[in-house]
């Protein structure tokens, strides 16, 4: 199995898009993944829809709901990742899932499926460092990169988190659940500086990155960006359009994405 690092394209700044497995349809999820790679994504965060996504804002909650309506599960999501590989996706795939689906699937099945479908990493938003010992161990046994999050409220915990960070370190751009935000606070810059200084892996800012100006502004303070809600919103708005003319819609979406991440592309 190829590892996360081996798959990672050598970009200065990472673009890490988040999409929800099964949203708007499983087939489109695959096409979106390929499109994102083409548009310059460095890593793909592939979300497992969950009934109770308490770390997510309304946009991702709706995506979760749409995906669940297509009977998407953690298993089908990993199978979708496998299908992406078969269709040529090269960049690392990070499975984004709440802890409960992992628990229910069971460790053995989970890691078997991850391996089988060439999932590279795992991000569990409701599993803080203290609760993650066993799964980290298993991840490293199976060469799965375990992605950690760090928040402005992490404070004394930051050392521990940065010390154990793998792949990239997901920096929460503000207090809060995922969502689209307008402004960033002064404290954010200090926080990002501090994380970057301490981290041995690239730092990526997430939560609220919705405009190219955000990326432009924060670029000096980090190594990459996670774009979730803003992307899901674009997809959501095109839900009907996809049914009318899929190709054209995908093309338009790609242009929107390129516009959003233009400050990153400019450097490549």
């Amino acid at each position: 199995m190829t590892t996360y690092l081996e798959r990672l394209p050598k970009h200065d700044k990472l673009f890490i898009p988040f999409i929800m497995s099964g949203d708007p349809t499983p087939e489109l999820t695959i096409k979106l993944a390929l499109l994102l790679e083409e548009a310059g994504a460095s890593v793909l965060e592939l979300g497992v829809p969950y009934s109770d996504p308490l770390a997510d804002g309304p946009v991702i909650q709706r995506a979760s709901k749409r995906a669940l309506a297509h009977k998407t599960t953690i298993t089908s999501t990993m199978e979708l990742a496998g299908e992406m590989r078969r269709r040529g996706l090269k960049i690392p795939i990070i499975l984004f899932t709440y802890f409960n689906p992992v628990l229910q699937l069971g460790e053995e099945s989970f890691f078997a499926l991850a391996k089988q479908n060439q999932v590279d990493g795992l991000l569990i938003p409701d599993l803080p460092y203290e609760e993650s010992g066993r799964i980290r161990e298993k991840c490293s046994e199976h060469a799965i990169t375990y992605i950690s999050l760090v928040a402005p409220t992490s404070k004394d915990r930051m050392n521990t988190i940065t010390e154990h960070a793998q792949g990239f370190l997901y920096c929460i751009s503000s207090l809060g659940v995922t969502g689209v935000r307008k402004e960033f606070s002064e404290e954010l810059y200090a926080f990002l500086d501090e994380v970057k200084k301490k981290s041995n892996v690239p730092t990526a800012v997430g939560f609220g990155i919705s405009e190219s100006e955000h990326i432009q502004t924060l670029k000096p303070y980090c190594d990459g960006f996670v774009v979730g809600s803003a992307l899901i919103k674009m997809i959501e708005q095109k839900e009907k359009q996809f049914k009318v003319d899929e190709e054209k819609t995908l093309h338009e979406l790609k242009e929107q994405i390129e516009e959003l991440i233009s400050p990153l592309l400019a450097e490549r």
Binding site: Y129, E130, V150, T153, R157, V177
Partner: protein, 389 residues
Amino acid sequence: GRFGEFGGKYVPETLMLPLEELEQGLQEALKDPNFLEDYHYYLKEYSGRPTALTYAEKLSSRIGGAKIYLKREDLNHTGAHKINNAIGQALLAKRLGKKKIIAETGAGQHGVAAATVAAKFGLECKVFMGEEDIERQALNVFRMKLLGAEVIPATSGNKTLKDATNEAIRYWVQHCEDHFYMIGSVVGPHPYPYMVREFQRVIGEESKRQFQEREGGLPDKIVACVGGGSNAIGMFAPFVDDAVKLIGVEAAGKGIDTPLHAATLTKGTKGVIHGSLTYLIQDEHGQIIEPYSISAGLDYPGIGPEHAYLKDSNRVEYQSVTDEEALEALHILAKEEGIIPAIESAHALATAYKEAAKMPSDQTVLVCLSGRGDKDVHTLMNRMEGTVE
């Protein structure tokens, strides 16, 4: 932060610091005589504790077995045991310098308790409540507003308690710097299950003392209903090391062999909900299933992690009672004792009747009457239209 393997802190990183601060503040407070004095002052002078221990003489003789005693949490200010915890947490919020509180509510009982203590202690209060529940529980919504609280509709999921809790946690994640999250039951991430137990154990402590005075010993069995499980934990805690049989009663809804129940311990499997590892009702993929019970206070898909532990360690026996059985138990108590219990509490009563009937008359059963049924009169009217005439 665990009860055996259960509990823990399954929360976004952002909440880890607030939870640590809370835990530390709680530990200090529980050791501070001034804090405890304040807490007991308000329990007594504001909420009217100690609540009565009522010997249900007529009921006992109708059931024809053990003597049945009722711990009357329905006599608390706002009508249920919820206020014990709300007072404790409000005092703690003040101690931690937080001026704003968040709470989740299903039927509205904890929401009313939270709004109440917010008014009493000068805190700003936001109550998250499922949009569905807001419609079904218009009176409690109005009470909360009257008390000065803001009621925020939760529009996600099935728009009920589970979703209101998700929304409250989301809001807390974003505003944890100046907001105190007041959870209403022994659920959520550590230290909530522990904290809420400590603020509810007054139920059991008083009961123990009152029972000693009245019967000169301990009850043979204690029965309490379990949704999240705070009244049960509060009642059981001081008796855990005693030779008393403890029974928790879950809502079997339309029957545990149907999909419509809330019998988490009886039918659930281990998983994580609202920050805690416990038993819950979920599908094979780990998606949480909306539970069902006629009682709005028992239809929670999870259960306090300590209950999960008490079940697995066999210290407490958990049974379940259907809607029908609970309603029948409610009717019997109303007619025999002039007490209309909350439908939640009626679940405990149904089991207590069954147990008492099997016991000799020199034994005793203590039931936690967690709240009054006034709030349920609309539900009962709809349900029993035409049958009470």
